[in-house]
């Protein structure tokens, strides 16, 4: 069983430390907004910088939300296509990340409406990170935990999975998630709590039962 190492050497929660690596840099709004405004003025290089900053997290968000690689790639291109199209109307009134994930969320909703019942069968194999410094036992336990988490994440309802992914991949706060999904903050908080509890139970599941 994995012992939860919830604190890093600095005394901060470990998840927050990792979240910093995935989420945009501290107070990125001006920079992302500036890049978008530069692209609006015709600077393609600014868009490339902006794209490199958010492409992986958005891809993972869509990949785990759709649980289908081809659909995720189609939606990924659709989202960036809308961002490119909307550059003339872009106003830096909110974080670019909020804007980006709002577009992605709406594209996913539209995809569900178009297909009524999106494929629930996952064809995504988790691409895991391995820490060579860890021992074989620990590595085996963590690998098992990742599989359990992936399985549990796929079993989550779409709304709960969406909130969890927006929090983890987009680094959005409850208010921002509420803004993206159009649902009030308490509902988002409730959905996130349910999602985290289910995933935690899946991770803490005894080895012999898995």
């Amino acid at each position: 069983m994995i012992t939860a190492q919830t604190l890093n050497p600095a005394g901060l929660p470990l998840s927050r430390t990792r979240a910093v690596a995935y989420a945009p840099a501290m107070d990125p709004a001006p920079e992302d907004s500036a890049l978008m405004l530069r692209y609006k003025d015709g600077d393609v290089q600014a868009f490339e910088t902006l794209y490199r900053r958010h492409n992986d997290s958005l891809y993972r968000y869509l990949l785990r939300l759709c649980r289908h690689r081809d659909t995720a790639e189609d939606l990924f291109q659709e989202v960036w296509g809308k961002i490119i199209k909307a550059r003339e109307r872009y106003r830096p009134t909110a974080k670019f990340t909020t804007f980006l994930y709002r577009v992605a969320h709406n594209c996913f909703i539209d995809h569900i409406r178009r297909n009524q019942r999106h494929q629930n069968t996952a064809d995504v194999e988790p691409d895991t990170q391995r820490n060579p410094a860890e021992g074989p036992d620990i590595e085996a336990e963590r690998s098992l935990a990742r599989r359990r988490l992936e399985s549990a994440l796929g079993d989550l309802p779409d709304e709960q999975r969406d909130v969890f992914l927006l929090h983890e991949e987009g680094g959005l706060s409850l208010d921002e998630i509420a803004h993206v999904t159009g649902v009030n903050r308490e509902t988002i908080k409730s959905r996130l709590r349910y999602a985290v509890n289910k995933l935690r139970l899946a991770i803490d599941e005894p080895t012999e039962t898995s």
């Binding site: 998840s15 927050r16 979240a19 993972r60 785990r64 988490l149 929090h167 983890e168 680094g171």
Partner: protein, 298 residues
């Protein structure tokens, strides 16, 4: 700062172990071909500079459209306003019912025929046109056009000179009657009326007159000239005699009452001589001698 905010924003809902496990499991990257496709699209759709360069097109198009609309409205408002009463007023009783009487329909047909005939005559040259002008059918057609059913002359269709002559002829009616009563004063007016009538007759070429007062007066004068029991053959000849009668009024200034007896006729002749109308007086003397051969002139 982000960490603290995230911790505060989630209100402790997020689980660090779950987040860390998820991070370890989620390490996918965007496929390079997908990156290339998006970036290629971003470069291709970079039309912002071009868009800015043609930003003036849309307001320009709107301004042009509005200007054209205003010009059309102003142009339409400058058109002369037709009185609705004039529009609704029928030109004739038949127009009020929307039906045309047979004579009107015939008139339109004849007018069309005349236009065709004129066009054909123009093609034949002035000589053919002049010949066709005096053909009986043409003359009759023109007469029908210039005179309506009531016998009134349609002044708008008559040539201007004929109209003037007709006015003079109408105004000469009292003068003609006066000439019968007072030969000396009416002689000049009768001559003028004669000339006017001749001019009218010449201008209208064919002047078919029905029951107009002018015709009645002409008939009366013709009867007076040719005898009370003699009816005129036709009204055209009566009209033509209008000028002759007026001219005869000059040559025979003495009325019937004066011609009843040789003495009164002679008094009339002497009155003419007193007025200096010696020619008329000599003419009257000859007529007196013809009428009363037994009467011995002084």
């Amino acid at each position: 700062m982000t960490k603290e905010r995230s911790h505060t924003d989630t209100d402790g809902v997020a689980d660090p172990l779950v987040s860390r496990t998820y991070r370890e499991s989620a390490a996918e990257s965007t496929p390079p071909e997908l990156d290339e496709a998006v970036l290629r699209r971003a470069r291709r759709d970079d039309g912002s500079r071009y868009s800015r360069s043609i930003l003036w097109l849309r307001p320009m198009a709107w301004a042009t459209t509005i200007a054209l609309c205003l010009a059309i409205v102003v142009e339409l408002s400058d058109l002369p306003q037709v009185d609705p009463a004039v529009i609704s007023m029928p030109a004739s009783p038949s127009d009020a019912t929307g039906l045309k009487s047979e004579p009107e329909a015939l008139g339109e047909t004849e007018a069309l025929e005349e236009i065709r005939a004129d066009t054909a005559n123009k093609d034949n040259g002035p000589k053919a046109d002049e010949e066709a002008r005096y053909e009986p059918e043409q003359l009759e057609r023109r007469a029908r056009k210039t005179i309506d059913e009531d016998g009134r002359v349609n002044l708008q269709s008559v040539p201007q000179l004929s109209k003037t002559a007709l006015d003079e002829a109408i105004s000469s009616r009292p003068a003609a009657a006066e000439a019968i009563n007072s030969p000396a004063a009416a002689a000049a007016r009768a001559a003028e009326a004669d000339l006017a009538a001749k001019q009218q007759f010449a201008d209208t070429d064919s002047f078919e007159i029905n029951d107009s007062p002018i015709v009645e007066e002409a008939d009366a004068m013709a009867r007076m000239r040719e005898g009370k029991n003699k009816e005129p053959d036709d009204r055209t000849s009566a009209v033509s005699s209008l000028g002759l009668v007026a001219a005869e009024a000059v040559s025979a200034p003495c009325d019937e009452e004066a011609q009843t007896t040789p003495e009164s006729w002679l008094e009339c002749i002497e009155a003419l001589e007193d007025d200096g109308l010696d020619d008329l007086a000599s003419l009257q003397r000859e007529q007196l001698q013809e009428a009363f051969p037994d009467f011995q002139l002084p």
